[in-house]
């Protein structure tokens, strides 16, 4: 079996909830080393995702992610909009029309998402961006996928993403708006890494 469109819709719904709940926190993180909009942008974007899901309920997980990509691309703006848009689009492409996602294709979809972010943003590990949440998540997912348990893959990814986001605290940013601060960016968590961890935690929550 594996994860189906119900899981995907639940994932996106929980993600939207998480963005609304953590809106102020993400704004605050962005205020410290950016321009105070990340939480607002993500909240607005995922509300648009919910609207789209209600409007045209998707029939496959891939369709749900594609719709998400389009909504985020057209409603988030800023750096995060195109990056998340590309991530969800690449994941959707990997999943194709499949009705069910097994552990291996789940791990592959996560890897495709991460690769999309890197392709667009050109950030390397340690540049203090959302990549620092995604790369450990992708690695942990790949390792967990061997056992074939999708929930275990998602939990591993979420935990790794959370650890990765926390690990951005001491880093000096080299990409995105925070990079203008140089050394002053150290001591603050990257907002995009934080929102990425929330989204991946929502994915696990939806499968639990």
């Amino acid at each position: 079996m594996g994860l189906d469109v119900t899981w995907a819709v639940k994932w996106l719904t929980l993600s939207a909830q998480a963005m609304a709940e953590h809106r102020v926190e993400l704004i605050e993180l962005d205020r410290a080393i950016g321009d105070s909009d990340h939480g607002e942008n993500m909240d607005r974007g995922f509300q648009a995702v919910l609207d789209k899901l209600a409007e045209t309920p998707p029939e496959t997980p891939g369709a749900a992610l594609k719709l998400t990509a389009m909504a985020l691309m057209s409603k988030v703006g800023g750096a995060a909009g195109p990056l998340y848009g590309t991530a969800f689009l690449r994941a959707a492409t990997t999943l194709g029309d499949a009705a069910y996602i097994d552990a291996a294709s789940l791990a592959a979809a996560l890897a495709a998402a991460r690769d999309g972010i890197v392709a667009r943003g050109k950030a390397e590990t340690g540049d203090k961006t959302m990549v620092d949440a995604w790369t450990p998540a992708v690695d942990a997912a790949a390792a967990a996928a061997a056992d074939g348990d999708t929930l275990a893959v998602l939990i591993a990814a979420a935990e790794a993403a959370e650890a990765g986001a926390m690990a951005t605290d001491p880093l000096v940013a080299r990409k995105g708006r925070a990079s203008y601060l140089g050394e002053r960016s150290a001591g603050h968590r990257d907002p995009g890494a934080a929102s990425s961890a929330l989204i991946l935690r929502a994915a696990a929550g939806a499968a639990a």
């Binding site: 909009d37 057209s74 943003g121 140089g182 002053r184």
Partner: protein, 333 residues
């Protein structure tokens, strides 16, 4: 936070609506997707000029839509770059067949969103060139950052490239002159106070009563470093020094001096800064051929200013002087 607004989330919608009402003779506003076009767009045979970015920098960009400058402006949410689904229709709307130039300030968000939009507009058959503006000398080591930001120089690029398009230059020529302006302009800014993004409700950074932030961008992000408050002459010297050394100006050259307010600084103070800047340029043997003083690229209600110096050649001067008729910049017509 005290602002003349209604719902913090409706700020851009309502402001752009008011802008459209006030300047109905010059512009047309599309509410959703949101963009502003020149009333007579597309202008037959003319290269279209599109710029955009986060809101909160008014009059940039919508205030520069009109004859001799931009054909369209695409406003994002406050300090958030617009999305491709706004940029694409704006691009299509101003394409007369001669192609469209995107003027993009070098921020990751703007670059990515305009990049996507350009790709998709090209797929629809519109030739697109991009002029990237990155004039901010406050960003020292562009190897280890997202690169220099586009700040005050953007206004000058839009004016001069706009004049080139208006006189009938072709797509590549307009992009080339835009690039040339960008390569010859340097900017540096200072904040005396932070600004407050409406949806955030708290000031964008913390600054003590005796501190100023040197090397700021235009999004309320903190600058290069904080220093103790100084007088206007001291601050002017601090801003101008890195500009001139980076630009490598030589005695005898002609320049345009642009003193820009960040939104909350009285014009009288901008002229005090202009005075000292003009003195310094004169001491260096530079001739201030043209000047611009006022609030043109702002950060909401921030107090502070930026100084831009553009090394002029004769063609740029002619294009600068060419007629322009927009809500925020107008002469010769």
């Amino acid at each position: 936070m005290k602002k003349l607004i209604n719902d913090p989330r409706a700020v851009v919608d309502e402001s752009v609506e008011g802008f459209g009402l006030a300047h109905a003779d010059l512009v047309t506003v599309s509410a959703d997707p949101k963009y502003v076009t020149r009333k007579d767009a597309p202008v037959a045979g003319k290269v279209g000029l599109v710029s955009g970015g986060g809101s909160g920098h008014e009059p940039l960009h919508a205030g520069f839509v009109g004859r001799g400058m931009l054909d369209a402006a695409v406003p994002g949410a406050v300090f958030t770059s617009p999305t491709p689904d706004q940029i694409i229709p704006a691009t299509l709307a101003v394409n007369s067949g001669a192609g469209v130039v995107h003027i993009v300030k070098n921020y990751t968000g703007d670059v990515l969103n305009f990049e996507t939009a350009a790709e998709m507009a090209q797929a629809e058959g519109v030739e697109v060139r991009t002029v990237l503006v990155n004039d901010d000398v406050a960003v020292e080591d562009s190897l280890y950052t997202a690169g220099r930001r586009g700040v005050g120089g953007t206004v000058l690029v839009e004016k001069i490239a706009g004049a080139a398009a208006e006189r009938g230059d072709d797509l590549d020529a307009v992009a080339v002159i835009g690039d040339r302006v960008n390569q010859n302009v340097r900017t540096m800014g200072v904040a005396l106070t932070a600004c407050t993004v409406p949806h955030a409700g708290t000031p964008s950074f913390d600054l003590a009563d005796n501190e100023i932030e040197i090397g700021i961008g235009i999004h309320g992000e903190p600058g290069r470093h904080k220093i103790a408050m100084e007088n206007a002459d001291g601050i002017t010297g601090r801003l101008l020094e890195p500009i001139l050394s980076d630009l490598g100006t030589a005695s005898g050259e002609k320049v345009l001096l642009f003193v820009n307010g960040m939104g909350g600084t009285p014009l009288s103070e901008l002229y005090i800064v202009y005075r000292r800047a003009a003195q310094i340029l004169a001491e260096r043997g530079l001739t201030v051929e043209r000047s611009l003083v006022g609030n043109y690229i702002t950060s909401l209600e921030m107090q502070g200013c930026s100084i831009s110096v553009l090394r002029l050649d004769d063609e740029m001067t002619v294009l600068w002087d060419a007629p322009v008729h927009t809500p925020a910049l107008r002469w010769g017509v």
